[in-house]
Amino acid sequence: MLEIKNLHVELEEEEKKILKGVDLSVPAGAVHAIMGPNGSGKSTLAYVLSGRDGYDVTEGAAMLEGKDLLDMEPEERAAVGLFLAFQYPVEIPGVGNMTFLRTAVNAQRKARGQDEMSAADFLKFVRAKAKELDINADMLKRPVNVGFSGGEKKRNEILQMAMLEPKMCVLDETDSGLDVDAMKLVSDGVNALRDAGRSFLVITHYQRLLDHIKPDVVHIMADGRIVKSGGPELALEVETNGYADILAEMEVEA
């Protein structure tokens, strides 16, 4: 599904190297997790995959089902099936959440050569998905993320994911700012979307989220590279011992 090869990325403005050769392969239907200390480049990887401005890719490639992501505009990446659940979902005053969702769904359908969804069908669709995530009618009416609590914003991200039905979901610290109940709700939402044709890349600081969203593979990222990969037990090891031991073992400076 997602193939990242030797990806090197610098900040556009200050020539600071953030990613220094990331190699990562997420097969179809798999859930991979990336953990790592602050500043290791996890969020940068998420942003670069989604096409945010401000980064220079100096070397390497990122492909989604064989298509070169780095050559595409952000909306084209979304249309081929990439979705980023933001660590900090953006507030858009004046744009109703429902309008936002309908615009997004129909834009992607159009890009894929499908007909736009009728207003009635859309309403039915969004209500069903919203109910699963305990998102009430008020949250759908309000401007996008404006006045939403941390938990509501993250649930709104998962709602978008559920509606856009992407192939490759990147979750950037979706657990940050969530209480236990909200984490369960969000995780259930993600788990409901797991299927053989859909892959996940779950970026997190904490093992806790991975109790709910069970990963097939856990990667440790440090200093702009994947330094160690393993099964779910690797996350437990981090939780118990911190990153220091692993980094020392791999001879990486944190």
Binding site: R52, E73, E75, A78, V90, G94, V95, A104
Partner: protein, 433 residues
């Protein structure tokens, strides 16, 4: 009766003299002569005048208007077309009876200005040029005085009850060099309610003055669309006097137009009155000049009144926006709640916006504030939308409409608000990139 201009005008307008004032009945002749005298005293505006430094008055006061090509609607329905309304049509500044609806009924008295002015006695006598004259202090508005002196057509409307349908003044511009001076007078009687719609360009160049008097508990709603005519030059004035517990709400959408200056002068004279004036202007200077100026003066002269000014401008390719807005709170106007917002969204570095927000407050128990901002599209919001698959032009349009939302929200009627939003959306679609 003879009309003599007062002596030594500092900057006499060439077009105006006793001989050229339009023929009228006695009261109107007096009102015109009075206005001509005031104009002679104040002179025409120049760039040296405080409130004209950002807008060149030249093309508004030149002997001949710059030609403006009439817009061909083709198969496009003009705005407000789907709305059931009483239509009053002016073509190049002249009332067109055939194209208009019958001017009576439904708690309404509508007359053509010329007919009202021809009579010896008319209720409009107490308003025509009267509210305009009141609005000359403390800031002079010479082009409004000129209009009172020279207006050749217009309507006078008296509302005595609940009017079921909006009154809709439709301006059609057909002659590329037409020059219109129109003056309307509106009296909303106690507890009565009127919605007035205006759309279209009245002429290649036009001056439009509307005097509105709202009695106790009366309501006046005004939605105006200035669009679809690229080279027109326009100066409009709205003078309103508001009695106790009355409501005045005016919204103007402006798209296109080489020069548009909308002045609005509101006086809250009765307790607990509400006065809102709002505008959404979209300007693209790529193919045609665009200069838009909102100049507003709100006077609180009664207790517990509320005023709002909400002006939004979206500008690109050298389009220019100006906002000059003032709230004056007199010493007796306690419990005043006044707010003024003027914001521009500059879609590129060539566009410019100049704002002069002013508060002058003599009462001590008031809530008054103003906020004026200039900004660009929020890049984070744009990226967020694009990451969800929304192409940048659609995302930008969505963010522009979001920016305009609180001005559009000033329109109370949802059907009219939707109609305005659809027009704004259409303009955005035509002016992408």
């Amino acid at each position: 009766m003879t009309t003599a201009l007062k002596s030594a005008p500092k900057n006499p307008p060439a077009q105006i003299s006793a001989d050229t004032l339009p023929a009228s009945g006695a009261w109107a002749t007096d009102a015109r002569a009075d206005a001509a005298g005031r104009l002679a005293d104040m002179g025409l505006p120049t760039r040296r005048d405080e409130y004209w430094k950002w807008t060149k008055p030249d093309s508004l006061i030149s002997a001949q208007p710059d030609p403006a090509e009439a817009f061909d609607y083709g198969s496009e329905a003009p705005i407000f077309d789907p709305i059931d309304r009483v239509k009053i049509v002016f073509v190049d500044g002249v009332f067109d009876a055939d194209a208009s609806d019958p001017l009576d009924g439904e708690g309404l008295e509508i007359e053509r200005l010329a007919d009202a002015a021809a009579r010896d006695i008319h209720w409009a006598k107490d308003l025509y040029g009267v509210l305009e004259a009141r609005g000359q202090t403390p800031v002079v508005r010479p082009l409004a005085a000129y209009n009172t002196a020279m207006a050749t057509d217009g309507v006078v409307i008296r509302v005595t009850g609940q009017v079921n349908r909006p009154v809709s003044i439709i301006y059609r511009h057909e002659d590329d060099t037409s020059d219109a001076v129109l003056h309307h007078v509106i009296r909303v009687e106690e507890g009565a309610k009127l919605t007035l719609l205006e759309n279209g360009a009245a002429a290649a160049r036009f001056s439009d003055v509307t005097e509105v008097d709202v009695a106790d508990g009366g309501e006046f709603h005004h939605i105006r669309a200035q669009g679809r005519c690229h080279d027109r030059q326009a100066i409009t004035h709205m003078f309103a006097r508001l009695a106790a517990a009355s409501v005045f709400k005016s919204f103007t959408m402006t798209v296109n137009g080489k020069l548009t200056r909308n002045e609005c002068v509101l006086e809250l004279l009765g307790d607990e009155g509400v006065a809102h004036v709002a505008g959404a202007a979209l300007g693209d200077g790529a193919d045609d000049e665009f200069h838009h100026d909102d100049t507003v003066f709100v006077t609180h002269d009664a207790v517990a009144c509320e005023s709002r000014q909400v002006f939004k401008k979206v500008l690109k390719n050298g389009a220019k926006g100006v906002f000059q807005g003032k709230i004056l709170v007199k010493a007796d106007a306690q419990k005043t709640d006044g707010y003024q917002k003027s914001q521009s969204l500059l879609l590129d570095e060539d566009a410019s916006f100049q704002a002069k927000p002013e508060l002058e407050i003599y009462a001590d128990d008031v809530i008054c504030s103003h906020g004026s901002t200039s900004g660009a599209i929020d890049e984070d919001a744009l990226f967020y939308l694009r990451s969800r698959g929304v192409p940048p032009h659609i995302a930008t349009d969505l963010l522009v409409l979001a920016f305009l939302a609180d001005a559009i929200e000033e329109i109370e009627d949802d059907v009219i608000a939707d109609e305005v939003t659809a027009r704004l959306d259409g303009w955005l679609a035509r002016h992408r990139g």
